[in-house]
């Protein structure tokens, strides 16, 4: 069996974040294109087809520091090496759990990592959409030190040469959260349109992002303002009519965003419509009187 990238590809297998960023720095200084390998769900197929021929690969599986998740007083920190399977059962974050449960197939969930989702930054990505709604911060480390970047800034600017994503940080949940997505079949599909919604009962607001319509996961600000104003925050509930209105505003909001490239089978018109339906559905799941607050575990 040949080496994934070919015999000329250098393979680094660091055991610590320090070793990993040292390897990245060395490759950056040498001016060689380098790929990070974690779960390999994106990189390995690309290596097979030769679409990403790197000079060097930094394999991260041995970096145990990256595979840690934890809770502080106000935040949850999830290491870049944490897999979807690990998140799918995490009771501290029902939204991350709901998102992770519907990512790809069992095999993909067993391999795919948080860092991989940020590295690939697929604009339709499930985790990216949830993290957008959750206002996540991305933690990065290089030989020069560590920094935190807002997700939006990270998606705009990306990693600097020699930087490694070590973790993401999200606020601790303070209300129901959900993640809905649709695609081409009943299970194990890439997201066509998705919606992440988090209710914050402390700050009395709803955060909602739509994936698959705009060029990147899109916060629907008008709809969020409506929710903040009209939800009965003493009970954390809202009438069904408000869910419908929320969906309409979410659709209108995402329609106004710069669109993702045209999909020959699923015109923008449909995806906007679906975004509205999913947003209304997510809102109702988290805020209707009958069932709220609801645990995310599926019936």
């Amino acid at each position: 069996m040949t080496t994934p990238g070919g015999p000329s590809t250098a393979l680094h297998r660091p055991g610590t974040v320090g070793e990993a960023v040292a390897a990245l720095a060395a490759e950056a200084r040498a001016g060689r294109p380098v790929e990070l390998l974690a779960g390999g769900t994106d990189l390995v197929p690309a290596l097979r087809t030769g679409t990403r021929p790197p000079a060097a690969i930094v394999a991260l599986r041995r970096v145990l520091e990256l595979r840690v998740r934890g809770a502080g007083a106000d935040t949850l920190t999830i290491g870049a090496g944490v897999t979807y399977t690990e998140l799918a059962g995490w009771s501290l974050s029902p939204g991350l759990a709901a998102t992770s449960r519907v990512v790809g197939s069992v095999q993909i969930r067993n391999c795919g990592t948080v860092g991989g989702a940020l590295g690939s930054a697929n604009p339709r990505g499930d985790l990216l959409t949830f993290l957008t709604a959750a206002q996540a911060e991305v933690l990065l480390t290089s030989e020069d030190g560590s920094r935190a970047a807002g997700l939006d800034d990270f998606l705009s600017a990306g990693r600097l040469p020699g930087e490694l994503v070590t973790a993401v940080r999200v606020p601790r949940p303070s209300g129901p959260q959900t993640y809905l997505k649709i695609g081409g079949r009943q299970a194990a599909f890439p997201s066509l349109v998705s919606c992440a919604l988090l209710v914050d009962r402390v700050r009395e607001r709803v955060c909602c992002a739509v994936g698959g319509v705009a060029a990147r996961p899109w916060r629907v600000a008008e709809a969020e303002r409506l929710a903040a104003a009209d939800v009965d925050w003493s009970t954390g509930t809202a009438p069904a009519a408000l869910a419908r209105r929320f969906g309409e505003l979410a659709a209108a909001g995402v329609r106004a965003a710069s669109p993702l490239g045209e999909d020959p089978r699923h015109p923008l018109e449909y995806r906007v419509h679906a975004a509205g339906v999913l947003a209304a559905r997510a809102f109702a799941r988290c805020l209707t009187a009958r069932s709220a607050p609801r645990r995310e575990s599926a019936p």
Partner: protein
Amino acid sequence: MTGRARGVGGSVLRPDGLAKAGGTFVYAGDLSAPGMLHARTLRSPHPRARIRRVDTAAALRIPGVAAVVTAVDVPGVATYGLIVADQPVFAATETRYAGEPVAAVAAVDAPTARRALAAVEVEYEPLPPLVDPEVAAGPGAEPLHPDGNVFREITLRHGDPDAVGPVVVEDSYLVGMQDQAFLAPEAALVVPAADGGVDMWLATQWLHSDREQIAACLGLPEELVRLELAGVGGAFGGREDVTLQVHGALLARATGTPVRIAYDRVESFLGHPHRHPARMWFRHTATEAGDLVSVHARIIMDGGAYASSSPAVIANAVTHAAGPYRVPNARLDGLVVRTNNPPCGAMRGFGVPQVTIGHEAQMDRLADRLRMDPVGLRVRNALQPGDVLPTGQVLGPPLPAREAIEAVAARPLPAALTAASPVTARPGGRGAHADLARVRRGVGYALAYKNLLFSEGFDDSSTARARLELDADGRPVATIHSACAEVGQGFVTVAGQIARTELGVDEVVLRPADTGVGSAGSTSASRQTWMSGGAVRGACVAVVDRLLARVARRLGLPPEVVEAPRRALVITGGEIVGAETGTRLTLAEALAEGPVEAEHTFHHRRTTALDAHGQGDPHVAFAAAAHRAVVDVDLDLGLVRVVSMALAQDCGTVLNPLSLRGQVEGGTAQGLGLAVMEELVTVDGVVTNPTLHDYLLPTTADVPALDFVALTYPQPDAPYGVKGVGETPTCTATAAVLAAVRAAVGRDLRRVPVRPGDLVDLADPVDPLGGAPYLGNKAAWGQPGEMERG
């Protein structure tokens, strides 16, 4: 189990089943040879371009690159093809589809080969591609190939072409491009031989057709091109055409070294022909009582850049366009066109799934118009043996079409979705969390028939050899040699069953399928159990005759027994017994003086070509099937979940119930896939989704357990009374799911696969046919007089 229990009629397990399930089965892509080179293919990124220059020098300078071959290196015929040799081994001066091979390289490893591909310099001058078949066939369209842009046009006229009934339904339908998407991509191992020939191990559907085409392109006599079947991981028609065979052979001969040539998933999607996309217009007329009076249809299929099986596919589409119904008057026109889209060819169903989508949608509309039950309308019009088909062919028995539709209609319906059902049982699954109040159930039916074996006068014989002898331990063992390609359909199982039944032995060895024996024909057209099963049976019968005659001679039995030994002697329980002659000896004793061997070539009944009006006796036989689909649709999102599938199918005599079940379940799943998800999408001739990430196949979450009823009337002219079973359920599954979705959402559907956007109310809905109710380009049909709307 004894020979009898493991003979014909039993659910004998596949000999390769455990290895496949356990991951130890050796597929073509797993083969290797010491010192072998790795080959890869350079493909045109342009759907249509002039090739100004190809320079391989830089690629050849890369260390580890052994050879680069292009069109100038093809020593024999520059083109190949199943029916017409119109496809270049490598594009020389012009590329006609995005993905067309331009060069191939062999190197010490795959990454080096890949780097070499990037170093081959090809100077393209892109030309505007023709991707609309109606435009490509129209007047003034530039010929895309010296053979022109029309692969075949068929004009079928039956009865009174002007007869119409008082009740009329008409519309147009669009079918997208489905891919066979077999799971083991194309692969071959090619070893250059000392005699100047090549030995090749490959995954294919038809060894001898491959050999003929490879030998012609290599400029070698056929006997120097020796092929052996390697493990095949699915085919469904997609391995009927030559893909990498000639490239691998050229590289092996150029380097004098074994070459492994294999496609990755993307290349597999680009490398083989797909199912034809179709645009179809139908007009059905009937009496007020619900008897069909006439069917008019126009079918345009996009054949893509090269002919492949297009001429035969369009004949199937046209001759089956009216469905399994009594239609006294028909005007059925078909056209298959060359474009700069990817080539299309054989896929399970071979032109029939497309027209079934059309004729069954029409039957549902007609039932609505007549206020009749859709099952009742189909029962009323279903063909019966003795009826005359639109080709003028008289339908031979059996064809239980009416029974099939009645049988599925009688199956119990699945329970309704309730709040207690798991969320994964709702349309869209866990992620969509459909609102139960907005989920609507629909039930739909489809009935179809599909021709079996090759048609239009083709004598697609199959040859097999059988040998009966004693093994080293003195036990009788049968050896069967056939070139039949096992692609998953179960010939390896059924051939052993036939040999055990005919020869009365337990031990049967099936030799590898290779070109050392006569052609078995293609593993396609639902033909191998009938044709190669017939060949194996014939060879075994001849072996028995020879053995019994030898025994009769040795025992000094009367000459009339020696002449016709079966009248007096039988093989039973491992013994040769003659009640009248008092004979009783074991098979081992009978074989002690040496092996007995025979070869048999099986032919089906002759058919005829279609005449200028589409009349003739083109099809050997037919099989009918009916599906009932039950779906739930999320009315807000347009997502569909198939809840249940019931199938009643005309199967002939069942040789292996377990194998049969595998075929009908797979056929149903593949048809379901076309209905709701499987589509290879092209934009301006370029495939946009050539991965299993973007080309979705149904999973176990999408395919319900199949409620299956086998209708088992023996086919009189087939061995044991068998019928082919693999294709028929694919034809009906798509149409039944579509009918069920139509029933759920209450709107007529004109496009397959159905898209969620077609099922919901959008502010700005997209008409799949661009608003045109008819296939408009009259000139494309060559007979403007025939194209009037009325």
